[in-house]
């Protein structure tokens, strides 16, 4: 018997990703693939698609199985060894709450929609890549639920995250972001999620978050995070390939792709302002500031990427100059939102101590001492006098990103940026030119925004009082919400730490 020769990677990829489909006979192709043309993208040759990793299904299963083996060994160890005791401070867990409430449901949405895209593109190469990503995203949702469930045994705010994701005011920000993407056509979805989010921006979510988790003793998050992140590299590559593939197919595709890149850069950037707050305010031990992460992962890496895409006629996303101007303030502005409305959130905020202010002052020399320190000190003084500052009125929201209208003018950090459009006798408000322009492109889509504040006033959220609404959110009042100071969580943590000190003293 002749020995079978081992196939090279390129050969194997060619054999396992081509010629697997068929031309329809008794139905027109357009009826079998109804979604891949209405966006105006022209594709001449689907076979021009190539995955640079050249990953085939057999290798995929082997690699993923190995990742799962490693991950679940650690998950067992986390629960057996009371890993919750190893974190730097209970305040840290609030970042994990935001993650399970805001990000994990997006992983599941991504799973569903990549399955849809895998079904509805005509080319086998991109279908296989989308299929693998669909499986990855399901794995991410599952592993996040498994690991974070350990913290749910001890800490508040994580008991009903899927329900909260569909209802709670600040979670409408990530939810509406993804709803926008999945209700677009498949090419916009891929440009939005695979390219603009995964390639251009996701490093800002995962890398500092996971490194921050490692630095703060959160083994659980580090483990699922890096296990997921290894898939992300593949997703990023898909994103870059998608954009290059579309651009190479037909020059008429360029303006459509550019518009999507402009739109989804801005949407992703606004969404990530929540991560900026987490990095600058919620990590007891800090890895890097939001501004530093933005410089490293967007200005430097994104700069190299868009220089490279210049050969296709792509220019850097519109309004990246605004993001550059805002980098010294958005984390502070978003912290103000959540400090104002912690009584209505399923996580805690707190007053900032002197040591933390010193760090913020060092990282934000142009803005912190002048603009934010006096604010934080005023709040802290009020809290110490027994009058903790809560904003008891509801905020005006941006009709597009759905974040409270807290962002300031690009050239004036002391004045809120108000933008608006008028349409059909109605007025729509936006936090930025970026959000306004996205609305103006497709108003028919965004007049439907489910804005939590307006829904409360329309009587669609469980009742008229704050308490009614919070119950409708499934918040445990007095535990999930309000300041960390005086929370059941703080009491529990202080007891744990007191126990540790007693044990240390006895040794």
């Amino acid at each position: 018997m002749p020995a079978t020769k081992k196939l090279g990677l390129k050969q194997k990829y060619a054999l396992m990703t081509r010629g697997l489909d068929w031309e329809t006979t008794y139905q027109p192709m357009e009826k079998v693939f109804p979604y891949d043309q209405f966006e105006g993208i022209k594709v001449k040759n689907w076979d021009a698609w190539e995955d640079p990793f050249r990953l085939t299904m057999d290798a995929y299963w082997k690699i993923q199985a190995e990742k799962e083996r490693k991950l679940y060994a650690v998950i067992d160890s986390i629960s057996q060894n009371n890993a919750q005791l190893g974190i730097t401070d209970a305040r840290y867990i609030n970042a994990v709450k935001i993650f399970i409430q805001g990000v994990t449901p997006l992983e599941y949405q991504a799973h569903r929609h990549f399955a849809h895209v895998a079904r509805h593109l005509r080319g086998v190469g991109p279908r296989i890549a989308a299929q693998m990503q669909s499986l990855d995203e399901l794995r991410h949702a599952q592993t996040q639920i498994h690991t974070i469930s350990h913290y749910n045994k001890f800490f508040d705010g994580m008991h009903d995250w899927q329900h909260m994701h569909d209802r709670v005011w600040y979670l409408s920000v990530p939810k509406s972001f993804f709803d926008d993407a999945v209700t677009a056509g498949p090419f916009e979805f891929l440009t939005a999620i695979s390219f603009s989010f995964e390639y251009v921006l996701t490093n800002l979510l995962f890398v500092p978050f996971m490194s921050g988790a490692a630095y703060n003793g959160d083994l659980a998050t580090v483990t699922f995070g890096f296990s997921a992140q290894s898939d992300e590299s593949r997703h990023m590559t898909l994103g870059l390939e998608v954009v290059k593939f579309i651009l190479e197919q037909d020059e008429a595709n360029l303006p459509i792709v550019q518009r999507w890149i402009d739109k989804w850069f801005w949407r992703g950037y606004r969404l990530l302002s929540l991560v900026g707050m987490m990095m600058d305010y919620m990590l007891p031990k800090k890895v890097m500031s939001w501004a530093e992460a933005w410089e490293m992962y967007y200005e430097e890496q994104g700069g190299a990427l868009f220089a490279d895409l210049g050969r296709y006629g792509i220019r850097p996303p519109k309004h990246e100059d605004v993001a550059r101007k805002e980098k010294d303030r958005i984390s502070h502005e978003v912290w103000a939102i959540f400090y104002n409305y912690t009584h209505a959130a399923a996580f805690h905020t707190w007053d900032i101590d002197d040591e933390h202010m010193r760090w913020l002052s060092e990282k934000y020399p142009k803005t912190f001492d002048q603009l934010y320190r006096p604010r934080l000190l005023m709040w802290r003084d009020m809290a110490r006098a027994g009058k903790r500052f809560y904003n008891n009125a509801l905020p005006q929201l941006c009709n597009l990103c759905q974040i409270p209208m807290a962002f300031t003018e690009p050239d004036d950090p002391t004045t809120i940026c108000f933008r608006s459009s008028e349409l059909g006798g109605d007025r729509y408000h936006f936090c930025s030119d970026g959000c306004k322009e996205i609305f103006d492109q497709e108003p028919e889509k965004f007049v439907q925004s489910w804005l939590p504040v307006h829904q409360i006033f329309q009587g669609n959220c469980g009742g008229a009082s704050v308490e009614d609404v919070l119950k409708w959110y499934h918040l445990n009042l007095g535990a999930d919400n309000l300041d960390y100071a005086g929370s059941p969580e703080q009491k529990m943590w202080d007891q744990w730490m007191a126990g540790r000190h007693v044990a240390q003293a006895a040794e």
Binding site: R375, M378, I416, D426, R427, K445, W450, H454, G459
Partner: protein
Amino acid sequence: MSVVALKPGYKGEVLDRVENFHGNQLVYLHWEDHLSFCAALAFPLPPDMPFGAILKDVLPPFYGMHPDWLKIDWSSVRWTLDGKPFTPDPGRALRDQDIRHKSLLRFWTPGLKGPRDSCS
């Protein structure tokens, strides 16, 4: 209105039309230079409410906790309505001075800019 949609003639439902607010209209109010209140405030108000009630009844429970609130000299306050200079008449109804559904009222209180003039 435009949209990229699979179905020709696709129409979206306007979720925030005034009829959905049970006789009220939305009004946004923003006290400039006081960003310890992170954003403008949203209120559902009856269109026939006199403007004076906003100053007397609507705002004080929310802005009153700020040390600058009681120092405001209302005769020197500068207003804009939907981006244009505006002189409110406290005795007239909102609807009678062109304060419409989802109008934005911004006001500046001269000499008051929060602690250490930080616009907080």
